[in-house]
């Protein structure tokens, strides 16, 4: 029997599931190897059938979604998150540092009809997650490799290195050393191919913190480049603000 897979969406921009929808030929090949049970954006809808692998995009921002993720967990043998929203709350988690109720009230004329939690939280805060893939968006390569590994019974490898390493591998000129451009590469997980330094700009950490990243030294370095504490806080509190390392560093700089 073919393995069953599901792709679920929570609060997100749909960008991570495009890893599948943009895969072209690979999408058709994959569809031949598995049974796609649930993937709203591609057609099939069925959240009730048990699946072998569930991909989860998006963060938890509503009471109904709190329940839905529990149901999904029960029906999934192996659950992996794809992208910053699912893994670290996403950009929308910036509401966690603000008065979310006020935010809703200023956008909607009838806020009493909007059921929205005060927070945007990563999936791991609600259920056990077997594997987390970072990135905003995740890279398609990463996702397809993970699928491939899982189908062949291998535990997928996740990237742990820093963007800096990738930059050096690709022989890009370091934007921080050569042009004094603030770059989060030293603390950011690789996986994107260091595309920001490649075009001559600093990394804004869309792949979240790398393993053992020295956020303390990073902050001091940014300060050395002339950034004010508030601006440094914003470098950490951006797309992955619910990643514990970034949350801690950002909160610390915010209070300076």
């Amino acid at each position: 029997m073919k393995p069953k897979i599901a792709v679920h969406k929570f609060a997100s921009c749909d960008g991570c599931q495009l890893a599948f929808l943009n895969a072209g030929e690979d999408l058709l090949t994959l569809a031949g190897m598995v049974d796609i049970i649930h993937f709203t954006e591609a057609g099939p809808i069925d959240e009730e059938t048990e699946v072998d692998i569930a991909f989860v995009e998006g963060s938890i921002t509503t009471p109904a979604d709190c329940n839905r993720i529990q149901r999904i967990r029960k029906n999934s043998r192996y659950l992996l998150t794809i992208g910053a929203c699912a893994t670290a709350g996403g950009l929308q988690a910036l509401r966690n540092f603000a008065n979310a109720k006020e935010w809703v009230a200023s956008v909607y004329a009838a806020p009493e009809y909007i059921q929205s939690l005060a927070t945007s939280t990563p999936i791991r805060e609600h259920v056990k997650v077997d594997l987390e893939l970072w990135g905003c968006p995740v890279s398609a390569k990463q996702v397809l490799r993970a699928v491939h590994d899982l189908l062949f019974g291998v535990t997928p490898k996740v990237e742990l290195d820093k963007v800096c390493m990738e930059c050096k591998r690709q022989r890009h000129v370091c934007v921080m050393v050569s042009k004094n451009i603030p770059c989060m590469g030293p603390v950011t997980r690789t996986g994107c191919g260091a595309i920001c330094p490649q075009v001559g700009r600093g990394c804004y950490a869309c792949f979240g913190p790398a393993e053992n990243s020295n956020t303390g030294a990073m902050g001091v370095w940014l300060q050395g480049l002339g950034l004010m504490p508030e601006a440094i806080a914003k470098r950490f509190l951006f797309i992955n603000s619910e990643a514990p390392e970034f949350r801690a560093a950002g909160t610390q700089w915010k209070s300076k």
């Binding site: 109904a64 509401r95 935010w103 009838a110 869309c206």
Partner: protein, 420 residues
């Protein structure tokens, strides 16, 4: 009180004495509150933030924001930047339209559950679509490093310029694929589409010399012709309790944005070759059949190929890929033609260039009221005595036609019919 619906789209339909008494399309996208989280962020973050509103059309968001902020800082971009912004937009139209036609719309019209099922019987057509889609993505990668949330665009232009070699390589592939884009138009024109003529107002950008993407005035089929900063004097956005998407009206009436509206209002701006192809395909534009949207998308894919080839053939390296400027306080507007229709932004920045206030009006919320109006009309002409399943399928097809952001575009519809 209305029951609240979460995490799903639903259509509530009350039918009484053979008439529709109530029709509510409930859309519940969990609010992500972008306009609020922009406040206090530096202008340098804006382009990367707004991209994350939609993974399918991030470039549209980046472009509307870049133009708005350029205008606050008084940046006049050089011809290279202007042209490259257009080239990038072509990439997004190709990617987004091809995705819609092949993964969402065509399976509907051919009676398949999804694209995978369709690929078994129509392998060539599906593969052609996926190839066109991937070329759109390649163009995005050329200028932005990746196709979803590309990193190349900044206020004043681009962080860097692609090499002449990279452009040449892609140009070759675009030229090879051009005949496929042409076949795509003929293929969609031969779809067996319902004939459902409706009265509606089209709204789109209009530029004196070109098919609109980044610039132009806002015009309508009813004679409106305004500068983009006058938008809020004519269009209003309201919140209805049954949806998290806001509803827009023009003079109190629903209106249409998107490929069909664009094509209806800008036919004369297309190069003669593209117009010729439309004529040969046998579909008369301007069209009042909403189902012709799928053909309009195919025409725009073809046009985007023609335009990209023209631009890439003349490609040279610029003196500067980004203009110099210094931040200023002020208010600026940006309105560009996202794949799904005009995407309107307004920003108020302080003297450091930090966001004080942001307003973003996406195409899907502009089409929302129009979708409900269309459903009313289409269901009446389809016949209300059809069974619930048939009604649901017809409704889904009608809604999908507008290519609303995909989470509400697909087989989602919980139909609650109350027949009394």
């Amino acid at each position: 009180m209305l029951a609240r619906v979460e995490g799903e789209g639903a259509l509530e339909l009350s039918i009484k004495d053979g008439k529709i008494e109530k029709l509510h399309l409930r859309i519940f996208e969990p609010p992500r509150l972008f306009e609020k989280l922009l406040e206090g962020r530096p202008y340098t973050d804006v382009i990367d933030i707004v991209a994350r509103i939609c993974g399918i059309c991030p470039v549209a968001y980046q472009m509307s924001a870049a133009h708005a902020i350029d205008s606050i800082f008084g940046v006049n971009v050089n011809p290279w930047v202007r042209t490259m912004r257009r080239l990038m937009y072509c990439g997004e139209w190709i990617e987004s339209h091809a995705l819609h036609i092949h993964l969402l719309a065509a399976p509907d019209y051919f009676g398949f559950e999804n694209v995978v099922a369709m690929a078994k019987q129509y392998p060539d057509e599906v593969r052609r679509g996926l190839l066109l889609q991937s070329l759109g993505n390649r163009l995005l990668r050329l200028l932005g490093g990746r196709s979803v949330h590309p990193v190349g665009v900044c206020v004043g232009g681009f962080y860097s310029a692609p090499s002449v070699d990279a452009v040449k390589t892609l140009l070759k592939e675009f030229k090879q694929a051009l005949p496929m884009a042409e076949q795509l138009v003929r293929w969609t024109a031969a779809f067996n589409l319902p004939d459902d003529q409706q009265l509606f107002t089209s709204v789109a950008l209009c530029h004196p010399h070109e098919y609109p993407m980044n610039e132009g005035r806002i015009v309508s089929s009813s004679g409106l012709d305004i500068a983009i900063n006058e938008y809020q004097n004519y269009f209003t956005e309201t919140h209805v309790p049954h949806s998290t998407a806001l509803y827009s009206h023009f003079n109190g009436q629903p209106y249409l944005v998107g490929p069909l509206a664009r094509l209806n209002l800008n036919l004369g701006k297309l190069p003669s070759g593209v117009r010729q192809l439309i004529t040969e395909s046998g579909i008369a534009f301007p069209s009042n059949n909403m189902f012709h949207s799928v053909i309009a998308r195919a025409v725009e894919i073809y046009y985007a190929f023609v335009e990209s080839i023209r631009i890439m053939e003349q490609y040279t390296l610029p003196a500067a890929s980004c203009m110099d400027f210094s931040p200023k306080a002020g208010v600026g507007y940006g309105c560009t033609e996202a794949p799904r229709g005009i995407l309107w932004h307004r920003y108020e920045l302080d003297e450091k260039g930090d966001v004080v206030k942001a307003t973003i009006i996406p195409p899907t919320s502009q089409n929302q009221a129009r979708i409900e109006q269309d459903l009313q009309t289409s269901l009446m002409s389809f016949g209300l005595d059809h069974g619930d399943d048939e009604l649901r399928l017809r409704c889904e097809t009608v809604i999908r036609n507008y290519d609303p952001c995909i989470s509400c575009a697909t087989h989602f519809l919980k139909l609650r019919v109350d027949r009394s």
